[in-house]
Amino acid sequence: MRRAYFKFSWIAAALLAPQLLIIFVFFYWPSAQALYWAFTLEQPWGGGNTWVGFENFRKVLSDPYYWSSVRVSVVYALATTVLAMSMALTLAIFVDRQLAGYKAYRVAIIWPYAVAAPAVGLAFQFVFNPGAGIFSYINTIAPGWWDLSKYPWQAVTAIVVAGAWKQVAYSFVFFLAALQSIPRSLTEAAAMDGARPLRRMIDLQLPLLTPTFFFLLVINITDSFTDSFGIVDTLTGGGPFRATDLMVYKIYADGFRGFDYSGAAAQSIILMLLVMALTFVQFRYVERRVHYT
C-alpha cells in the first residue's frame, strides 16, 4: 500500500483545531471524568469525593443482577442486529429490482431512522399494550396470554422488535447503495449465462456486499448497546422485574435517577470496554472473510 506524506503546515493545523477541540470537549474530557469518578464515590451536589480504588467495579461485577443485565444486553444486541439487517437486506433487494412503485417505497423506508428512540418506544406501546394495543386482540382470543408486565420473554421480544424497526432504515440505505454500485454488466452477464435472480443473489450480489455487511454489523451492534435507552424507557421501563434492564438503561437508572454517579461511571467504563472488545473480535475474526474490491 502506498502511503501519503504531508508537510506540517500551520494552515492545516488551524483547520483541524476546531474539530480536535470539539472531540476533546465532548469525548475525551467527559470520558476522563467518568474514568475518574469510577474510582471514587462522588457526591452529586459537589462537595468532594472519596477515592475507593476498584470498589465500584467490584460491587458491580459481584452483583448477579448486573450479569443478567449484561446477558440481556447481548441477547438484545444480537437479536436486533440479525433481525434489522436481514429485513433491511430483503427490502433493499426488492427495491434494487425496481419493482412497481419502488421510488415511493425507498423514501418510506428511510424515514424511520429519523424517528427518535423514545418516539419509537411510544409508537410500539400502542402495538404491544396488552390492554389497548394491537396485541390486545390476542388477549381477546386467549385472555391473559399477552402481558408485558408478567412475561419477561414477551418484554424482551417487544424491545427487540422496536429496536430492530428503528435500525432497519439505516442498514437499508447502505445495502441499497451497495447493491446499486454493483455493475449492471455483471448481473446482466450472469443473467445471460442463465442464472436466475435467486442464484445471482447468492453467487454474485451477496459476496460483493460483504464489506457493507461487515460495516453494518459493527455499527448495528455498537448502536444496539448504546442507543437502546429510549426504547426501554418508554416501552418497558426495565421491567418486568429487571428482565429488560439493559446495561445502558441501568446506567441511567443508577446514575441520573438514583444519583449514584460513581456506580454509573464504573458501569459506563465496563460497557465501553465490552463494546470495544466486541468490535475487536469482529475485526479480528469476521473481517477475514470480507473481500474488498
Partner: protein, 441 residues
C-alpha cells in the same frame, strides 16, 4: 412622521426596559407537569402581578426526577435556580451536601414573618431538621387514601368503609358474593404499601428511627408487619379478590376503578381532583388507609414536594425568593392550589378557615379533608416523623422489582422482601461511605 413615531417607540421601549430592570428576578424550577404544571406557572403570574419589586421566572422541568437531575447539573456549572421544587425521595443528597438555605433561616434573615407553628406537625416534621428548623417550604402536599365505589359497596351490603385491613378483606368477600368480580385494583407502590403503611401501623421501615439518627442505617421492613401485609395482597390476587392493574399491564388501577371494574383502589389524595374530572358513572368516596387490628393507629406523613432554596445566590435574589414563598403560604394562594388540584392545605389556620367557610362540604371537595384526618391522627412518633434514607429512589426500585417478581410467582414474598432489604442495605452502606463523617442535620 414615521421617524417621530419610531423615536417615541424607542423611548417607550427604553423606559419599559429600565422599569423591568429594576425588578429583582429569580428563577424557580418545578417538576409538576400537565395541568398541575400550569397551576405552578399561574402562581408565578399571580405573584408577579401582585407586586412590582420582584419577578419570578418559573421554568417547568418535565417531572420531579428531571427537575432534581437538571438542577444538579446546573448547580455544578453554577447556573442553578434560586428555588427548586423537589420530591422527598430526591433530597437526601441535598440535605447532606448543605448546599441549600434553610427556609426558616431565610425568612428570619430577610425579615419575613411566617408562623411556623401553624404548619401541621405531620408536614412540618417531614421538612425540618431534628431541632425543628424548616429546611424547605411545604407547598403541594398529599397523603394516601383509598377510593371506593359507593354503589357497589351498598349493593354488597357494606354500610361503612372499613378502616382495618381485616374489615377490608371481609368487604372484598362480600363484594364477590354480591357479584362484583374484582374488589381491589392493585398496583405495587412502595410509597403506599411500604412507607405510609409502616407509618400508620407504627412499624419501622429502617433502623435509627427510619434513618433520622445516623447514616449507619439498616432496612427492617422484611421483619415487620409489612411482610404479612404483602403476603395478604398476594393472597387476594391469587384468590381473585384483587387484580393487578398497572400501566405496563395495560390498564392503571385508577382507570380500572373509574370504569367500575374494581371497587377499591389506593392512591394519593391528589387523585381526588382527577377522578372528579373523569366523572365516573357511579357514586364514590374516599377513606383513610386501613391499619391491622390490634395496632394503635398513627399518623401518615406528607407526600408530594416542597420548595428548596439553593445556596450561591445574591441577597437580593434571596429576598425575592422569600417574598414568593411567603406569598404561596397565604390563605388565598393555598386555596388557589386546592381549588385547582387535589392537594391539601398545609397550615392549620387555612384548614380551619376553609372548613368554617364550608369549603369541604360542597362538591367537588366533599370529604377531601379525610387526608387531614389521616395526617393528624396522632402526634408524630419517632417512627412516624418520616423517612431519611440515602439512595431512597433505588431502594424503592429494588422493592418494586422484587415485589413484582414475587407477584409473578418467581419467588415467595418473604424471599423477595429479604432480597430487597439486602440490596437496599448495600445502597445505604454506599451512601454512608460517600458522606462519611456527616449526619442528617
Amino acid at each position: 412622521m414615521t421617524q417621530k413615531l419610531a423615536t417615541v417607540a424607542l423611548v417607550l421601549a427604553a423606559t419599559a426596559g429600565s422599569a423591568s430592570a429594576e425588578k429583582t428576578k429569580f428563577e424557580y424550577w418545578y417538576g409538576l407537569t400537565g395541568d398541575l404544571g400550569a397551576v405552578v406557572a399561574e402562581t408565578c403570574n399571580r405573584f408577579n402581578a401582585s407586586q412590582d419589586q420582584y419577578e419570578a421566572v418559573c421554568v417547568g422541568q418535565d417531572g420531579y426526577e428531571k427537575a432534581v437531575q437538571n438542577t444538579i447539573a446546573a448547580f455544578r456549572a453554577g447556573k442553578h435556580p434560586t428555588i427548586l421544587q423537589a420530591f422527598d425521595a430526591g433530597t437526601a443528597d441535598l440535605m447532606l451536601s448543605g448546599e441549600f438555605y434553610p427556609v426558616s433561616k431565610l425568612m428570619a434573615d430577610t425579615g419575613v414573618n411566617i408562623d411556623w407553628a401553624d404548619y401541621f406537625p405531620g408536614i412540618a416534621n417531614y421538612y425540618s431538621s431534628k431541632s425543628g428548623e424548616f429546611f424547605s417550604m411545604p407547598w403541594n402536599s398529599s397523603t394516601p387514601v383509598y377510593y371506593f365505589n359507593k354503589d357497589q359497596f351498598a349493593k354488597a351490603g357494606i354500610t361503612e368503609a372499613p378502616i382495618t385491613w381485616e374489615g377490608l378483606e371481609a368487604a372484598f368477600v362480600k363484594l364477590k358474593d354480591s357479584g362484583q368480580a374484582c374488589g381491589l385494583a392493585y398496583a405495587p407502590s412502595s410509597w403506599i404499601d411500604l412507607e405510609q403503611f409502616s407509618m400508620a401501623n407504627n412499624v419501622p421501615v429502617a433502623s435509627n428511627n427510619n434513618g433520622y439518627d445516623g447514616l449507619d442505617t439498616k432496612l427492617l421492613f422484611n421483619t415487620t408487619l409489612h411482610v404479612k401485609h404483602m403476603e395478604n395482597i398476594q393472597r387476594w390476587l391469587t384468590d381473585g379478590y384483587a387484580l393487578l392493574r398497572t400501566q405496563a399491564a395495560g390498564k392503571t388501577s385508577r382507570d380500572s376503578f373509574v370504569e367500575g371494574e374494581c371497587s377499591v383502589f389506593f392512591s394519593s389524595i391528589a387523585d381526588h381532583n382527577t377522578i372528579n374530572k373523569l366523572k365516573p358513572s357511579f357514586a364514590w368516596d374516599v377513606q383513610i388507609i386501613p391499619t391491622y387490628e390490634g395496632v394503635e393507629r398513627k399518623n401518615t406523613v406528607v407526600g408530594g414536594a416542597s420548595l428548596w432554596v439553593l445556596s450561591g445566590k445574591t441577597d437580593a435574589e434571596y429576598k425575592a425568593a422569600a417574598s414568593y414563598l411567603a406569598f404561596l403560604a397565604t390563605k388565598p394562594e393555598q386555596q388557589f392550589l386546592l381549588e385547582n388540584s387535589g392537594y391539601i392545605p398545609v397550615t392549620k389556620s387555612t384548614y380551619e378557615a376553609l372548613k368554617a367557610e364550608g369549603f369541604y362540604a360542597k362538591a367537588p371537595y366533599i370529604n377531601r379533608d379525610i387526608a387531614m384526618k389521616s395526617l393528624t391522627w396522632s402526634e408524630p412518633t419517632p417512627l412516624t416523623r418520616g423517612i431519611r434514607l440515602g439512595g431512597m429512589i433505588q431502594i424503592r426500585a429494588e422493592w418494586q422489582a422484587e415485589v413484582e417478581a414475587a407477584l409473578a410467582g418467581q419467588k415467595t414474598m418473604k424471599e423477595a422482601l429479604d432480597t430487597a432489604v439486602a440490596r437496599g442495605d448495600e445502597q445505604l452502606a454506599r451512601f454512608a461511605q460517600t458522606y462519611a463523617g456527616k449526619s442528617f442535620p
